[in-house]
């Protein structure tokens, strides 16, 4: 056997000869420095390798070592609260060992091997188990009970298991099948490019409550759904995803900062430990995993980062949790794909992106879903995926946006104009959509309010009419519109400014419960209806607009969640004729 060796280096792409027998997507180690790479094309005995680290100083004739294992992540207790790079290297640990700047050639274990976890069995000796069954639990953080699952391909009878303190490499149970004994440890590996299996896919039917009014009320996403948020620079993609990571009612958050700013990661790491989970009051960091491959970190690792993230997310879904994954930004991932494709001299498709961009995107978003997890207890988990897209010039005809649209069901289009007039979140209500309204209708009418769906529809209708009326007003002036049309304009303005506009940095405004959202909308529409009646009775428009209740409505967003009685007062006022 001859040792594979480098014959060409071109940036992050390396070509090696003597690689007969190597498999696609296997990990290799490049040169004595053992830089990590992955085989992305094979031709004869040549392997084309994308290297996850800077290749400066590497040259022809240096050795390449095959690992015969696909790029995988390590899964087990200790994942939560970690911050990893694109190929699951622990950045905090790297910093401790190597200093403030990321150097290359580092192989550090993703999970702490020394840490001791208390393992609580959930099954008994002699019980028959299949792959995916819950063997036991570890209290990983104040928020997460880490379920230890029977790994893939393993099934049989439990012959040994006990409660106790273990490290992740210790054997916690033994399973026997046809005379063969398998040792089970608390950690396992899984290839990132392969979706983890599920038993059955279900229709998402529960909303992911984000606390963001424009989302929850107008363009909701279901748990297990997929959404994308495209927009030009500075329109609020990152702030939005951060806000959702902080407030969404998911059990586990996996945040992938893919090719974006280092400071945004710092911001997230600064705020998550301080913010409290709404249900339990525990720090949010106790349910979050961060994957950070900043824009100046190696581009191939950026390509891998979203797979690393989604595999970790699937793993928690398999425990029966609701998991939300944010990817900021999928465009940077696509660009990494394009860069590598260019170096492979592949035939470019649209805008230079490779022709397989479409399938890669679809494969990624299809990993979202509400599923019956593998195992025999029928537990259900959800994985919700939200991806930012950063199209050149904010132009949504960009291939990444267009290909994403085919696979997602909620589209939150950000608008430069709204952002520059500081209307945040700058989600354009005219071109955004959600196909989850019907899925979650039952949940809303059952748990929140019977008339919530009706309120939503009416709000949407007013906004649409506003845009038509404004068009006319632009040509002939507002004064020429009928009084009832001018009332519509005013009502739509209230919906925009007093409801949709939401400041992510305001201590109260940042999050609004569904109940409060519903009541806010009801107040605004209630005012609109009362005003219509007053108008009919001959009251002047200006007098109606100057009623003190209007200013009160504009401040309801600042009513704390624990003071619903302040709403009662206003509602009474509206019912009694809007304080006329």
């Amino acid at each position: 056997m001859n040792q594979p060796k480098i014959i060409r280096v071109s940036g992050p792409l390396i070509v090696a000869s003597g690689c007969r027998g190597a498999r696609m997507f296997d990990v290799v180690y490049v040169s004595q420095e053992r830089l990590i790479g992955e085989i992305i094309e094979l031709k004869g005995d040549l392997a084309f390798i994308q290297v996850y680290e800077d290749t400066t100083g590497i040259g022809p004739d240096e050795p390449v070592y095959l690992s015969n294992e696909p790029l995988s992540v390590e899964l087990g207790p200790g994942l939560i609260s970690m911050i990893y790079d694109g190929i699951q290297r622990p950045l905090e640990l790297i910093r401790k060992e190597k200093g403030d700047f990321v150097q290359r050639g580092m192989e550090l274990p993703a999970l702490d091997r020394q840490k001791i976890w208390h393992f609580n069995p959930r099954v008994k000796i002699n019980q028959e188990l299949v792959s995916g069954d819950i063997l036991g639990e570890v209290v990983e953080t104040g928020l997460i009970k880490h379920k230890i699952l029977v790994p893939g391909q393993v099934s049989g009878r439990v012959i040994q298991i006990q409660e106790g303190d273990f490290k992740i490499d210790d054997v916690v149970a033994k399973i026997e099948n046809a005379g063969k004994i398998m040792e089970i440890r608390m950690s396992q590996r899984w290839p990132v490019r392969e979706p983890r299996p599920v038993k059955e896919r279900l229709l998402p039917d529960e909303p992911l409550i984000t606390g963001q009014r424009v989302i929850d009320t107008l363009f909701p996403i279901a748990k297990g759904g997929a959404a994308c948020i495209p927009g030009p620079f500075g329109s609020g993609k990152t702030v939005f995803l951060h806000t959702v990571a902080k407030w969404a009612d998911a059990d586990v958050i996996v945040y992938a900062a893919c090719g974006e700013r280092g400071n945004e990661v710092a911001d997230l790491l600064l705020s998550l430990p301080e913010l409290k989970d709404l249900r339990t009051g525990r720090p949010l960091m106790e349910k979050t995993v961060v994957i950070a491959n900043a824009s100046n970190m190696p581009v191939a690792a950026r390509e891998a980062s979203i797979y690393t993230a989604i595999t970790i997310a699937e793993y928690f879904r398999d425990m029966g949790y609701s998991v939300a994954l944010m990817a900021d930004s999928t465009s940077r991932w696509a660009e990494a794909l394009r860069e590598i494709s260019g170096r492979l001299e592949e035939m470019p498709g649209e805008e230079g992106y490779p022709a397989y961009l479409t399938t890669r995107l679809a494969e990624f978003y299809e990993r979202a879903g509400k599923t019956v997890c593998s195992g025999s207890d029928g537990r259900v988990g959800t994985l919700t995926v939200m991806g930012a897209v950063s199209p050149p010039g904010g132009d949504v005809s960009d291939p990444v946006v267009q290909n994403t649209l085919r696979v997602i069901k909620a589209f939150w289009g950000l608008d430069d104009k709204l952002a520059s007039s500081r209307h945040f979140p700058a989600i354009n209500w005219l071109n955004s959509y959600s196909l989850y309204h019907e899925n979650i209708q039952e949940f809303l009418t059952g748990k929140i309010s019977e008339d919530y769906p009706k309120l939503k529809t009416e709000a949407m209708r007013l906004l649409e009419e506003e845009s038509k009326l404004l068009e006319i007003a632009r040509l002939v002036g507002v004064e020429t519109l009928s009084l009832s049309d001018r009332l519509i304009l005013e009502a739509a303005r209230m919906i925009r400014e007093d409801f949709l506009h939401q400041n992510a940095f305001h201590e109260i405004d940042a999050y609004t419960s569904l109940k409060k959202q519903c009541r806010m909308l009801k107040l605004i529409l209630g005012f609109y209806h009362q005003a219509g009646e007053m108008l009919e009775k001959g009251k002047a428009l200006k007098e109606i607009f100057d009623l003190p209740i209007r200013e009160k409505i504009s401040r309801v967003k600042y009513i704390p969640e624990n003071k619903p009685e302040e709403f009662d007062l206003l509602e009474k006022l509206i019912r009694g004729g809007a304080g006329e």
Binding site: I7, R8, V9, S10, V15, T55, T56, G57, I58, G59, P60, D61, I83, L91, E92, R95, G99, D100, F101, V102, Q103, P232, G234, A257, G259, R261, G262, N263, V265, A266, D267, L269, A294, S295, N296, V299, R332, E335, E339, G342, E351, G352, S390, P392, G393, D395, S420, S421, R422, R474, L475, V476, G477, V478, E479, E497, N503, E551, S554, R555
Partner: protein
């Protein structure tokens, strides 16, 4: 001794192909000796078993296939650093151009640096008072931020950058600081403007300048910002200084990058710029920042000229996607005779939120800023309407906002080139402008602040 190759097989644009190489490494530094003995430098861009592709920093004019000698130096391009870099002027490749003695380096640093570990970053929160209301009041700059100026030909970006360099300070602190200036392809006159400004204010004693002029080799410009940032990293993270880096003009830098990409016959991205322009720019811009437990910082102020005043052109577009906001200059406001002609609405500082407020600037800063934005945006809308329908067709409310937006540009944005408005003055000015708008319209400001600061003028 280095092995010497006389095997140049082709020269095209800034690139040279050398045959029958062995032991050559990716990205290694190359020395090129011309027939007449002059020496140039270059870098390996692509290396295979038999040949190396080399990019020549100073360009290939005068090179020939027969007599050119190539030596591979076994190291990457580096900058010799020491505290004496401060006060000196270098060319675009790091050689002194001020007639002074060579710098005696304490150590050599790779000019590409290494990425800051995201978990080592300290989130920037210290407000820098620039004394310019349109920045301090509306789009505040903080220490460790990368905030570009999007300009266009004929607009006074140089004067604004110099004003920021002159006036910028963190309130209540006296600390070690330095200015690093990297110029790529600017004219002699523009370079001179900066040098004179630095000289007049004494800033030159605390500055290191790397200057590649318009008539100097374009390929050199690939190294210039990296040299500047390597010096800045040394000052900030070794010598604990607060460093302001000005890079001008990033558009010309990108053009050099495009030239190399074209010479390599790479598949071009938008407008012929290489598909990796985003990543390449990120390796420059992301070098700004602060590091936990280190006192120093790098604040980066890149300046670029938008071709055709178009902010969706790939250079401003990709820059905006990397930096933490942008200050956009407007030709329209410039024509109105307003200095600085900052387009407040499309400008943005993303790090402002943790840099302002109580104990930093003033408690109501954030609310006031949001309100000023909202009112100004509404006034601009009214102005557009007025252009179509005539001012008479506006509602009374719209007229108030229209007037507000005019006052805002004339009184708030406009100021003198040497005028320092401290942040309190800026905020007071904002309140004065708001006083002509009815209180109930000011929905973005908390009641308590309205009670405290709002005075109705009507």
């Amino acid at each position: 001794m280095y092995k010497e190759y006389l095997t140049v097989s082709s020269i095209s644009g800034p690139l040279v192909v050398v045959e029958k190489t062995s032991g050559v490494k990716f990205a290694e530094l190359v020395e090129i000796e011309l027939g007449d003995g002059t020496i140039r430098r270059g870098r390996v861009l692509d290396i295979s078993s038999e040949r190396a592709l080399v990019q020549i920093f100073e360009g290939t004019s005068g090179l020939d296939v027969a007599k050119t000698k190539i030596r591979f130096l076994g190291k990457t391009q580096s900058l010799g650093v020491c505290p004496d870099l401060i006060g000196r002027i270098f060319d675009g490749t790091g050689r002194p151009r001020d007639g002074g003695p060579p710098v005696i380096a304490h150590e050599y640093l790779d000019i590409n640096g290494n990425p800051i570990n995201p978990s080592a970053r300290d989130y920037p929160t210290e407000f820098i008072q620039t004394g310019i209301s349109a920045i301090d009041g509306m789009n505040p700059l903080v220490r460790g931020q990368k905030l570009p100026i999007f300009s266009a030909s004929g607009l006074p970006h140089a004067r604004i950058a110099a004003q920021i360099a002159r006036q910028g300070k963190v309130l209540g602190k006296e600390e070690k600081f330095a200015v690093v200036f990297g110029a790529m392809g600017i004219t002699f006159e523009e370079a001179n403007f900066f040098i004179n400004d630095f000289k007049n204010t004494g800033a030159i004693e605390r500055a290191a300048l790397f200057i590649n002029l318009a008539n100097e080799p374009a390929i050199e410009r690939i190294s210039t910002p990296r040299l500047a940032l390597t010096a800045a990293e040394y000052f900030a993270f070794r010598l604990d200084m607060h460093v302001l880096v000005i890079l001008i003009d990033m558009t010309l830098y990108c053009e050099s990058l495009r030239q190399i990409s074209a010479a390599r016959k790479e598949i071009p991205g938008r407008r012929g710029y290489p598909g990796y322009l985003y990543t390449d720019l990120a390796t420059i811009y992301e070098r700004a920042g602060k590091i936990k437990n280190k006192p120093g910082s790098i604040t980066l102020l890149p300046i670029l000229t938008m071709p055709e005043d178009d902010k969706t052109h790939p250079i401003p577009d990709l820059t905006g996607y990397i930096t933490e906001g942008q200050i956009i200059l407007s030709r329209q406001i410039h024509r109105q005779g307003v200095y600085p002609p900052i387009d407040v609405l499309s400008s943005l500082s993303r790090l402002k939120d943790k840099g302002i407020g109580r104990d930093k600037t003033r408690e109501e800063h954030s609310d006031l800023m949001n309100q000023l934005f909202a009112c100004y945006a509404r006034g601009k809308e009214a102005k557009e309407l007025a252009v179509i329908l005539g001012e008479a067709a506006l509602s009374d409310e719209d007229k108030i906002y229209l007037k507000f937006s005019e006052n805002f540009e004339n009184e708030f944005v406009r100021q003198g080139e040497t005028q320092v408005r401290n942040v309190a003055e800026t905020l007071d000015l904002g309140w004065r402008l708001l006083s002509r708008i009815p209180r109930r319209e000011l929905k973005r400001i908390r009641e308590e602040y309205l009670d405290k600061y709002y005075q109705n003028a009507t």
